[in-house]
């Protein structure tokens, strides 16, 4: 039968090898997916399963958990550490780590507080200054890493202390600066939500964009004599995504609606996802994380890639700090300390970005931070102390890393990267 086909129509370029079986249709897509999971290519599956479990448990313990007002609060809380986790994804992609993101975020909030409230700078300028400081700190790590070969683990651990010291220094004896209520920044962090029509429109865009780009790819691949994925599958997926997102938005709109801050976070995630998957820079990041020497010999400027990764990470950390200050309406000595650091790293790893470099996605920051904030929010609703929250978050992180390691081993034994 296949022989008959191959004589009647020329085979697509990538379908000429008879040894490879290609799954077709929706049943085939499901089988291919199961095959991938079995061989350790888990993608976002563990985090989605984890999320379902966590939400089921907390809802059964306290139905308020899934109320739309609680979920809107959850989204506000997600955005600050989520942006920091997005930076962590960048450094994890190249197989490095930044342990000082918490300190950098605290320092950034202190810079904004000092310059804006105490020195009377315009708010935009003080935010820019905080971001610039963040990028500068990351560039310093990259310099230490590239020129002196200092492991990022150590340099950022040193940075954790040094930057915390800088934060305490500029906050001075007062220890805390209150940001004025009613200012745009604080409103952005606490109150501002999208008008309903904007939120419904934005929720429709991802699906439509997927449809347009999918159809264009289909046409181009057909024209180029390459096999193309089925249009039916594409339409099914687009329909699921559009309906799913619109339902979520409709549910959240029953309460206050989608926070603009969360919109900013998701926008950054989408932009980073594009940069990591569809640009030469992103390809180089993945290559450097996978095999640094191979990337160097392929003519990639490895040092520049490391510089961009560290600088972006600190930049996002600083932005997360500014958002956190807006959320709390204050810049204090406690900002960025405690569990901020590890929550950000845990979010990236729980979301599916590998600690071993070369594998990951911007979406892991989004998914991971929702898991972490769900745990925090659920335990707060149960009126449990932070001691228990730390233990549970720690256990979830450990499980995430175990899943990552096991999946990595399984991939190796199944001959996948």
């Amino acid at each position: 039968m296949t022989a008959e086909k191959s004589t009647s129509a020329p085979l697509a370029l990538d379908r000429a090898d008879a040894r490879v079986k290609h799954e077709a249709g929706i049943g085939g897509a499901v089988r291919a997916f199961l095959d991938r999971v079995r061989s350790g290519d888990l993608g976002s599956l563990p985090v989605i399963v984890g999320l379902v479990v966590i939400w089921t448990v907390f809802t059964s313990l306290n139905p308020v958990f899934v109320s739309s007002s609680n979920l809107v609060n959850l989204l506000f809380d997600c955005s600050t550490v989520g942006v920091i986790a997005l930076g962590i994804v960048c450094v994890l992609m190249v197989g490095e780590i930044d342990l000082s993101v918490g300190s950098i975020s605290g320092f950034a909030s202190a810079v904004v507080g000092t310059l804006w409230v105490n020195q009377g700078w315009p708010v935009a300028l003080s935010i820019l200054a905080a971001l610039a400081f963040g990028a500068l700190i990351g560039s310093l790590y990259a310099l230490l890493f590239n020129r002196l070969g200092m492991p990022s683990f150590v340099s950022t651990l040193a940075g954790l202390l040094a930057v915390l010291g800088m934060q305490l220094y500029i906050l001075g004896s007062t220890g805390s600066i209150n940001l004025p209520y009613g200012s745009a920044l604080v409103d952005f962090g606490q109150l501002m939500v999208m008008p309903k029509w904007i939120s419904y429109t934005l929720a429709g865009i991802p699906g439509l964009a997927m449809l347009v780009s999918g159809l264009r790819t289909f046409a181009r691949r057909r024209a180029a004599n390459l096999s193309a994925p089925s249009v039916t599958g594409l339409i099914v997926r687009v329909a699921i995504i559009i309906i799913g997102l619109e339902l979520i938005v409709a549910y959240l709109n029953q309460s206050r609606g989608i926070p603009w801050m969360f919109g900013l976070f998701v926008g950054l995630v989408v932009a980073m996802n594009y940069a990591l998957t569809r640009t030469k820079w992103g390809r180089s990041m993945t290559a450097v994380g996978g095999n640094r020497e191979a990337a160097r010999r392929a003519g990639i400027k490895v040092r520049a890639i490391y510089l961009s990764a560290f600088a972006l990470c600190s930049l996002f950390a600083a932005l997360g700090g500014v958002l956190a200050a807006a959320r709390l309406a204050s810049a204090s000595q406690q900002a960025g300390t405690g569990d901020v650091n590890l929550n950000a790293i845990a979010a990236a790893v729980i979301g599916g970005t590998s600690l071993f470099g070369g594998r990951g996605s911007a979406y892991s920051a989004l998914l991971g931070i929702i898991v972490i904030q769900s745990i925090a929010s659920g335990l707060t609703l149960l009126d449990l102390s932070s001691s228990l929250r730390y233990m549970i978050t720690g256990a979830v992180l450990a499980i995430a890393v175990i899943v990552d390691s096991l999946a990595r081993r399984s991939r190796a034994s199944h001959g996948r990267a």
């Binding site: 040894r19 993945t286 290559a287 990267a417």
Partner: protein, 278 residues
Amino acid sequence: MSESLEGSASVGELVLSLRGISKNFGAVSALTDIDFDVHAGEVVALVGDNGAGKSTLVKILAGVHQPSSGTINFGGKPVTLPDPRAALTLGIATVFQDLALCENLDVVANIFLGNELSPLRLDEVAMEMRAWTLLNELSARIPSVREAVASLSGGQRQTVAIARSLLLEPKLILLDEPTAALGVAQTAEVLNLIDRVRSRGLGVVMISHNMEDVRAVADRIVVLRLGRNNGVFEPDASNQDLVSAITGASNNAVSRRAERLRMERDHSGSAQAGEQRP
């Protein structure tokens, strides 16, 4: 058959010509006064013992090291190769011994690594098409170019590495130990590949320790010994000649065995002659 082979070798113009290349690492002279020519459509095997300077020579050609003295002529013009980029842009592609592939990227991404089409909006369709064209030209058997390289066998990876070296339309390909890590079937596959690359009119320089492989594809065998030219051989040169050129000693296991065989033959011959004598 052999005539046509020689014909194709002599038709090719001179691609690369090294004159008096020396390379010193401190007090050590890794290469001394090396002359080396490669023509288009010719496979030149570079053989020699460990420390003979083969890899140093290839690294000079790949732009990794700079020669201490001597001239490099490429395509008839004197050139300098200050870095790997320069070598690539001139048209000298290198397939390193460890292949230098990223296992976490798929075949297309590896072939185009560092040379992606439309950097701000990767053109995956065009890249995949070009990748298939390259692989098909090499009659490569890669199941899917969208699989990560980690899932490929050693021979398939070698194919990907060679396909990548062909991407920039080089005039000269350097292969460092292309068969060292491969099994019998895969070795044959790679040797076929080298044949096809030659038939596309490219110059090929191949380093190998395996004389069988060298004889199978090489048009000329250049022997280095202790950083100096130590003879150029035809592929049908005897093993004994090659080994003594490589080791510099005429007294070794190979030569002793050949000597023994010759003695036995002579001996039995003279014995027979003796018997025939009445």
